[in-house]
């Protein structure tokens, strides 16, 4: 291009230099930030027997972070329910997804930055589990996606899809509450949520959905999470509304651009 050969104001810099430097700076800072904050979800089964040291540490963490709302002995206050009997599973779910420590008021707890390391959340779980018997964190065997995906799909559609959508894209509840998308949720947290029924999600105890049922559901969800649609980009799996918006905005928009070109006089 001719303009590139021109000497602008006698400068020795390439005309594109400024743009390239800014782009490089953005890439480095953005990429670095992303790498630094990438949270790695590990499925780490908790050992069944929690040591006394763990319980103790959990107690300390609890007093520092949770007692102000849940009470010094987890007995509950006006702001938050009692945690006696909720079990390690509930703590693991709430803390490891970043819902707890709960922040601000609103119709529902939001998923935020995870505040505790896995050791710390294990300790909290051990402490709460020590208060009274409650649902335990699922084992690796319970979470392995080698169940019956067909059965799991059927169970998912009957018990879960009405809130979470047929493939876990999420859905609305009343008054600002919502069932979150499950596309990036780990098997452990899905199991724990079913077992403990966080907030307005019902409790799916083992008599309702047996551990085999839960495993099948996780198998189905794992399939959905790991397989891209055979038809191409999924547009969020949100159904006909998004498809309709797409056709009006992008397809018709593009076609109108073509018609304007078609009807314009050629130079």
């Amino acid at each position: 291009m001719a303009f590139m050969k021109r000497n602008l104001n006698g400068s020795r810099r390439h005309p594109m230099a400024a743009i390239l430097v800014i782009a490089a700076g953005l890439a480095v800072s953005g990429g670095g930030y992303a790498a630094a904050t990438a949270a790695v979800e590990t499925v780490k089964p908790v050992s069944a027997a929690a040591s006394a040291a763990q319980v103790d540490e959990g107690h300390k963490l609890f007093l520092a972070n949770c007692a102000s709302c849940h009470g010094k002995n987890a007995e509950g206050t006006a702001n938050a329910p009692s945690l006696i009997g909720v079990g390690a599973a509930a703590v693991s779910f709430q803390v490891e997804t970043g819902r707890m420590p709960g922040q601000a008021s609103g119709p529902q707890l939001m998923v935020k930055e995870v505040q505790f390391t896995t050791e710390e959340s294990d300790a909290l779980a051990a402490y709460v589990a020590s208060l009274a018997p409650g649902p335990a964190v699922p084992t690796e065997a319970q979470l392995a996606p080698n169940g019956d995906a067909t059965r799991g799909g059927e169970l998912f559609r009957i018990n879960c899809a009405m809130c979470h959508n047929a493939v876990g894209a999420g859905g609305a509840l009343t008054q600002g509450k919502y069932a979150p998308a499950l596309t990036k949720t780990s098997a452990e947290h899905i199991y724990e949520a079913m077992l403990t029924g966080p907030q307005n999600m019902p409790v799916f105890n083992d008599a309702n959905l047996t551990p085999t049922d839960k495993k099948d559901i996780i198998t189905y969800l794992t399939y959905v999470q790991t397989h891209q649609s055979a038809g191409g980009y999924e547009l969020g799996n949100l159904g006909p509304v998004v498809e309709g918006l797409f056709i009006w905005i992008f397809a018709l928009g593009f076609i109108i651009a073509i018609t304007i070109w078609l009807g314009a006089k050629s130079n």
Partner: protein
């Protein structure tokens, strides 16, 4: 009558074919009549073509699908390649849809082409209707064509609904459940109609096969018939054109059918088909495998119909609570009847609008020059109000998605849209009308005084003026050539009585034409030019340009007056 029989063999294959056809079908006459028919060229005239070409794509892709789809509801156990449904019980219709998607090469592509084309067909028809409305192309002699087009829009909706209900999946099955619930709510005939339609209790084993017959035979046949009528009338009336130099109600200005329009419109078919194919190759639509076969017990969050049925679903959602009335041993399901009345009523108003406007204006001339929307402010404002009403109903169908996407309370979203449904059209009307009138005033300004160039000059006697660049005669004509109407008075009839009808008509014509901007007349133009100080001269009139010369600039530059 031809003289000797044409025995020429040296004329070549084309000449021979033409001769063969002419002697049997008279194609020479057809070619003479239509070959150089003039069609005006504007992008907004192509929207109807988008719908037409989408329909051809639907016919092609649909025919392919009929070779594989089986419209039976008998339960079978799925044994195909899609893992999460292997061993599941489902209807044959659903199983054959899965087979088309996963086990026929090109099957999923054709399914997606078919469904995307269906969405585009109705969208393009709707946009085309809007263009026709806002430019007044529905006026005499095209009122009947408007109704035919309206029927096409409704038939498109019917085709789409019957079509997406065929795979018998959870999403469309719940749609059928809703239809069944609405039918049951009809007074007197509800329960019987429901039983007749579904062959017994819902869901029954008949509905898919019945919708199939409607979807591949009856509805497409009706659409084709109406398309033929629609296009036939375009041929008789010739296409409308926008106002401009040389364009009158008594002529049509554009390009000939052969070769320009054959190339442009023919090429456009391939482009539209290409767009549909591109989208279908890259974006998933209606992934029925995600939903599972229909079962009355499960349901997915985000259950909506295809976009063109959205306004009816929205009407259902927006209905206030506790509208049912139990009286005299029967139930009046107003929570279902009211949305039906609103939805259908809206469509009926749309269908009848040309007749209403014709009655109000009393204008019995033929109109072939289109209005720019701003030059018919009340009609445009009514259209904007209608669009707002339709859009509010449509938005009402996605309250749950709006709520989750924007982190709002679904209940508040619904209440807001209920309010917007009533208030929105009124606000849209007022704003649009005022904007149209303002644009007309601006046009008037420009026609009389030309464009402001931003150049300020100082006159020798000290006055500062801004130089205005006058329009050339062609551009000016575009701004001043539009129809103007006056409101009428209610006059007494032969018996000396002013009837209610006359009063109504006068009231409506006042509503339409009270606020109006008249087009600039020659007298006003002359008067405006006399106002100019002599120092600012007009550019010389543009001379006609022949092909060989360099193209002259379209806008004559205002001559910079020499500083004196």
């Amino acid at each position: 009558m031809s003289t000797a029989v044409n025995t020429q063999k040296k004329g070549g294959f084309l000449a021979g074919t033409a001769n063969y056809l002419d002697e049997r079908v008279g194609v020479a006459g057809i070619l003479k009549e239509f070959g150089r028919k003039i069609f005006p060229d504007h992008w907004s005239f192509m929207l109807g073509e988008v719908a037409l070409y989408s329909f051809f794509v639907l016919l092609l892709s649909g025919t392919f699908l009929t070779f594989f789809f089986q419209p039976a509801m008998t339960p079978v156990i799925y044994d195909g390649v899609y893992g999460p449904l292997k061993g599941a019980e489902m209807s044959i219709a659903y199983a054959s849809t899965l087979d088309i998607s996963f086990e026929v090469r090109g099957g999923l592509l054709m399914r997606q082409v078919h469904h995307w084309a269906a969405l585009l067909f109705v969208a393009a028809a709707g946009l085309h209707m809007l263009r026709v409305f806002f430019t007044g192309a529905f006026r005499k002699p095209r009122e009947i064509n408007w109704v035919v087009g309206f029927m096409l829009f409704v038939l498109g909706m019917a085709a789409g609904f019957t079509g997406y209900s065929l795979p018998d999946d959870l999403l469309s099955g719940n749609g059928l459940r809703i239809i069944d619930g609405m039918i049951k709510g009809l007074p007197v005939i509800g329960a019987y109609t429901s039983s007749l339609l579904f062959g017994g209790e819902f869901p029954g084993e008949q509905i898919v096969a019945r919708l199939y017959g409607l979807h591949i035979l009856l509805v497409p046949a009706l659409i084709l018939i109406f398309i033929v009528i629609h296009l036939f009338m375009v041929v008789i009336h010739k296409h409308t054109h926008y106002s401009g130099p040389g364009r009158k109600d008594s002529n049509v200005v554009g390009y000939p059918l052969m070769p320009v329009y054959v190339a442009k419109a023919g090429g456009f078919f391939f482009i539209v088909f290409g767009v549909i194919m591109l989208i279908a190759a890259t974006f998933t639509i209606n992934p029925v495998w995600n939903y599972g076969g229909y079962d009355p017990s499960p349901v997915s969050a985000g259950t909506q119909p295809d976009w063109y049925i959205g306004f009816l679903d929205g009407a259902l959602r927006l209905a206030p609570t506790h509208l049912e009335v139990h009286a005299g041993g029967v139930t009046w399901a107003w929570n279902i009847l009211l949305p039906m009345i609103v939805g259908v009523g809206f469509l009926v108003v749309v269908a009848l609008y040309p007749f209403l406007e014709a009655w109000v204006t009393g204008d019995k001339r033929e109109h072939h020059v289109l209005d720019r929307p701003r030059n018919a402010p009340t009609r445009t404002a009514i259209g904007a109000a209608g669009v707002t009403f339709y859009a509010a109903l449509w938005a009402g169908a996605s309250t749950d998605l709006i709520a989750t996407n924007f982190l709002m309370s679904m209940n508040n979203v619904l209440t807001s849209i209920q309010i917007i449904l009533i208030v929105g059209p009124i606000v849209a009307y007022i704003i649009t009308k005022r904007v149209c009138l303002s644009l007309q005033r601006k046009d008037r300004e420009i026609a009389l005084h030309g464009r402001e160039t931003g150049r300020i000059i100082r006159m020798p006697h000290g006055e500062y003026i801004e130089v205005h660049e006058p329009l050339d005669a062609f551009e000016q004509y575009k701004l001043v050539d539009f129809k103007d109407y006056q409101p009428t008075l209610a006059r007494p009839n032969a018996q000396g009585k002013i009837t209610l009808r006359a009063r109504l008509r006068a009231g409506l014509s006042r509503f339409y034409f009270e606020d109006r901007i008249a087009p600039v007349t020659q007298t006003e133009l002359d008067a405006a030019h006399h106002d100019h100080a002599p120092a600012v001269t007009e550019a010389p009139k543009k001379k006609a340009v022949t092909a060989a010369k360099k193209p002259a600039a379209k806008k004559p530059a205002a001559k910079k007056p020499a500083a004196k």
